[in-house]
Symmetry: C2
Subunit: 590 residues, 2 copies
């Protein structure tokens, strides 16, 4: 599948495809979606920049040119690119670490991070390495994102209470909390707590309330998504009329009007070296989050998403962010769903969103400066609490103890030791679990269900067996991780008393035999030949057989290759007990 049958420029620029079919109807849909997403993105962009430890305007800068780049290069018609919670938290962690090393200019560091992260994504896309992000299983990702949600909410206490609290891990936050609480600001708490309560109420009951007023479910859901900007504005008005703004309640402060600055990257090898590892992790996490939502939405429309093109689109967007005063970005879950529900039909909706942001910056930047930080923090808290998916832990645990444990370990490691170690531990656990499973695969000795051509586990079914013919079925591809298991299995069978005369490996679940396993089978064949035991293969799949032909294994096989297990049984059962010495290889197909 996954054929890339587009040629030349159209392969790299999806806009040349959808652009040709663009018409007025599509334009209307895209414009409406862009309007709604713009209103949703403004508070998010400001708040996530704050979360990353950057001036709020950086979030707006990261929502301009990058969106245009994604429109040119991206393949998802629904993805809304821009600052995103988890990636911003990881950015904060990276900036904190390089600050300890003496790079105290967070803006330069954020630009470097976006540049590196974008370059990594772009190179991976050009090399078609999208499959590499499959290193992350969903339970591990859920564990990581849940922990990130908790850490983000914890970090916002600072703005909600007007206290001095920083820390990249739960222990660090908890340790500072008692001392920090001493200096809390009642006015800030009133504004922040009030915003939180309102946002939460709208999220909980807003949709249903609007439906009762006769608005149909989908627009109702979309309107509740606009609550943050309304509530923040309300909070600003209330705090302003109480005379708190700028003194008792912190505000965003100066938001420069106009176009973003051009920030050409400077060659800073030491800084970049420190940022390389965080950039790799940010790329992986950002891409996995982004491609998951894009894929889910594409599937709902019956569209096909090209994961490698997504790497190019996000890579280009991040590089654009680094050139125009931005920060690392990716596709956001909630905004993309809104974008989809609002009817966005092409990536052009993203470009219109960027135009919307630009208009707001040109016309309303004096208003933005009066927004209270506490209300922005409240929008973050409400948004990220939906990232914390506790029922998933019970569900996964019930289904698979191993995967449940991996999920929990990822959650705890992220909370206790920070995002970077957390995601690494998660990746390692995903891989280790998979290898553990395939290195000790399920296997069975099978016998014939009397009167049929079916063969089943001799321990589960009443089957016909032959002490001279042992038929083994290994339910896994044969590859480097499980060759020792196979050796052990065969050794057990051939050291029976009496030993079998023939051993049949039935391969219907063997999808690959890699070079390690091939070498192993050759050794096994040699040993069985010395012991006078025939080695036969049955039900070898077409692609596996294609590769086996021409190998030493088939040339010297001390037995035959049968099309089906039944054929092997039919041929070997009840034979005189003399070992086969001249291999006679039938060919199999598919």
């Amino acid at each position: 599948m996954m054929q890339h049958d587009k040629r030349g420029l159209r392969r790299w620029l999806p806009i040349l495809d959808w652009g040709r079919r663009y018409d007025a109807g599509t334009l209307g849909d895209d414009l409406l979606a862009a309007l709604i997403v713009t209103l949703m993105l403004i508070p998010q962009a400001l708040a996530y920049a704050m979360l990353a430890g950057l001036p709020p305007v950086v979030g707006l800068y990261a929502s301009l040119l990058p969106l245009l780049l994604y429109t040119l290069l991206g393949s998802s018609s629904s993805l809304s690119v821009g600052p995103m919670a988890v990636v911003s938290l990881m950015t904060a962690a990276a900036l904190g670490r390089v600050a300890e090393q003496g790079f105290t200019d967070p803006i330069t560091a954020a630009l470097g991070l976006a540049l590196l992260s974008g370059s990594i994504l772009l190179v991976m896309g050009l090399c078609r390495l999208g499959f590499l992000v499959n290193f992350l299983s969903r339970p591990v990702m859920t564990g990581f994102v849940s922990a990130s949600g908790i850490l983000i909410a914890g970090s916002q206490l600072r703005h909600l209470l007007g206290i001095d609290l920083t820390g990249a891990t739960l222990p660090a936050l908890l340790k500072q909390l008692p001392a920090a609480l001493g200096g809390f600001s009642p006015a800030t708490l009133a504004i922040g707590g009030g915003s939180l309560l309102l946002l939460w109420s709208v999220r909980r009951w807003g949709g249903r309330g609007l439906q009762r007023c006769g608005i149909s479910p989908r627009p109702a859901a979309m309107l509740t998504r606009l609550a943050p900007i309304v509530i923040i504005a309300l909070a600003a008005v209330i705090a302003g009329s109480a005379g708190w703004l700028g003194n008792r309640v912190a505000v965003i402060g100066e938001v420069p009007a106009g176009l973003p600055p051009l920030t050409l990257p400077q060659w800073q090898p030491e800084l970049w070296q420190s940022l390389l590892w965080p950039a790799v992790l940010i790329s992986i996490v950002g891409y996995v989050e982004s491609v998951s939502v894009a894929q889910a939405l594409a599937v709902r429309r019956g569209e096909r998403l090209d994961p490698d093109q997504e790497l190019i689109g996000l890579g280009g967007a991040n590089i654009a962010a680094s050139l125009t005063g931005g920060m690392p970005i990716t596709g956001g879950f909630s905004r993309s769903v809104v974008n989809f529900d609002a009817g966005a039909r092409t990536p052009a909706a993203g470009a219109f969103t960027a135009l919307g942001i630009l208009l707001v910056m040109l016309l309303f930047s004096p208003l933005l400066r009066e927004l209270p930080m506490a209300s922005l923090a409240a929008t973050i808290v409400v948004a990220v609490l939906s990232l914390v998916d506790l029922p998933a832990f019970a569900r996964v645990w019930r289904y698979s103890r191993g995967e449940g444990a991996a999920m929990l370990v990822t959650l705890l490691t992220t909370l206790l030791l920070g995002v970077e170690i957390g995601i690494l531990v998660g990746v390692a656990m995903s891989l280790a679990l998979h290898l553990y499973g395939t290195s000790r695969p399920h296997s069975a000795e099978v016998g014939r269900i009397p009167g049929t051509e079916h063969f089943r586990n001799i321990h589960r079914h009443a089957v016909e067996t032959d002490s001279h013919v042992a038929i083994l079925r290994v339910d896994e591809s044969l590859y480097f991780a499980n060759v020792r298991y196979l050796e052990d299995l065969v050794t057990t069978v051939i050291h029976r008393d009496p030993p079998p005369r023939d051993l049949v490996l039935t391969c219907q679940a063997v999808n690959v035999i890699d070079a390690t396993a091939l070498e192993n089978l050759e050794t096994l064949n040699q040993r069985l030949k010395e012991g006078g035991i025939g080695l036969h293969l049955a039900e070898v799949k077409g692609p596996v057989m294609d590769r086996l032909s021409g190998t030493e294994l088939l040339a010297s096989l001390n037995g035959r290759v049968f099309l089906s297990t039944f054929e092997a049984w039919h041929c070997l059962h009840g034979q005189a007990p003399t070992p086969l010495t001249h291999p006679d290889i039938a060919t199999s197909s598919e």
Copy 2:
């Protein structure tokens, strides 16, 4: 399989098992093997210590107590533990790196490395984590070992020519070579070159020559293994009578007589931190090498090797090395094969070898000091050239382009960037290749071979199909790495014109459905239900079905679970085109 049915101490101390059956016949066999291995080990131990950049006697110390520990804890009856070429090269690289950081005492660093490496192995063994070393595929290991052989041979030019040449990579060696060659010593070249020529000739023609003298093949092969000690002694006599020893031809120098020193480890957190990563890599490589040869030999005797017990045995042996002035060790390939061929029947042969080494140290240490380094280097070069397996590259490349490329990349990375980066790149490539393969599995839409119950690929066979019923077979376990592939596959099929009424996933090659894939199937089921398309499963294996029961997927499946593909076909083919809405789940077994 792989059951650990032994209880209590016997589980952890294999000696309690084989020790009870020990008799005079076994003793005789073990003593003979020990004698031959001792004579082989003496030059190897001295030479590999030199290779690691340590005083030669360290190699002998590492061949005493560690062998006793392995006798107590190890499970292989044939493995010969002690200093080994590749591990010594990796030790040299690690010592070189910490020397750059200011830890200029190589002996202390080697002890720390053995302690860390032993502890890692021991902990892995106690936690039964032997499967983790499956991260290394055989082609990658062959690439790494071949490169190590070349690097080792290159490093010995120093002793063979009496020049000043050091370097951990091929470029480093080549860069120094021209300048170093200026100071070469003709006497050293005569001794080194002469030894090399003799050793090579014996290796090449010795066995055949002895056979012509009427000695049967096996003892002849064993006698040629003793050539190194004879040739080194000869070289010492010749160089001594020419008056070269100690001035024009470098000798080993003082070898302290008597027992090894007790070297209790001191708490050196900074040194240990620098050594931790090299220790991990040395543990993995040493263990993989060791367990491969032990497994191959165990299989030839029909014995079973416990990989986790091997971790404990090697871990104990390395810790013992760190306590008695030694260096990192592991099971050696050539010595183990000789040990096996010479008739070693139990791990006691290792203890007798240690006794042999001790006797030599007590009685002959004044003789050892006169051995010329150039001859020892010649034995290393001849030994490691057999590690370089160039035909394997062609063989693997023919079988699998991907694995061949991984092998070559590992070889080149190791040669150009050193052993540590080389092995890491190798591990990463093993994993990436495996994931790449399973993330884009083979899949087929199948149809019925007319008149049979067999279903085959519609593109390879003339089969009966039904435009209302699409039957998909994915030849891979469904897990996090390939869920997107499955989504894509199904999307393609259901967007046909006309779309199918029923979709059957036939699962005979699906050995596992992990939590990520389960979630995905649930989403898929939901989507198909909305589209009025039935989703059915067929040939679900017992273990997979056991885990699926009780999940949301089965509870809300928009179709049925069929025992066989034929049953699904029989039931769905020719049905009235109305979508199933009430799931009716039959149970499947294995």
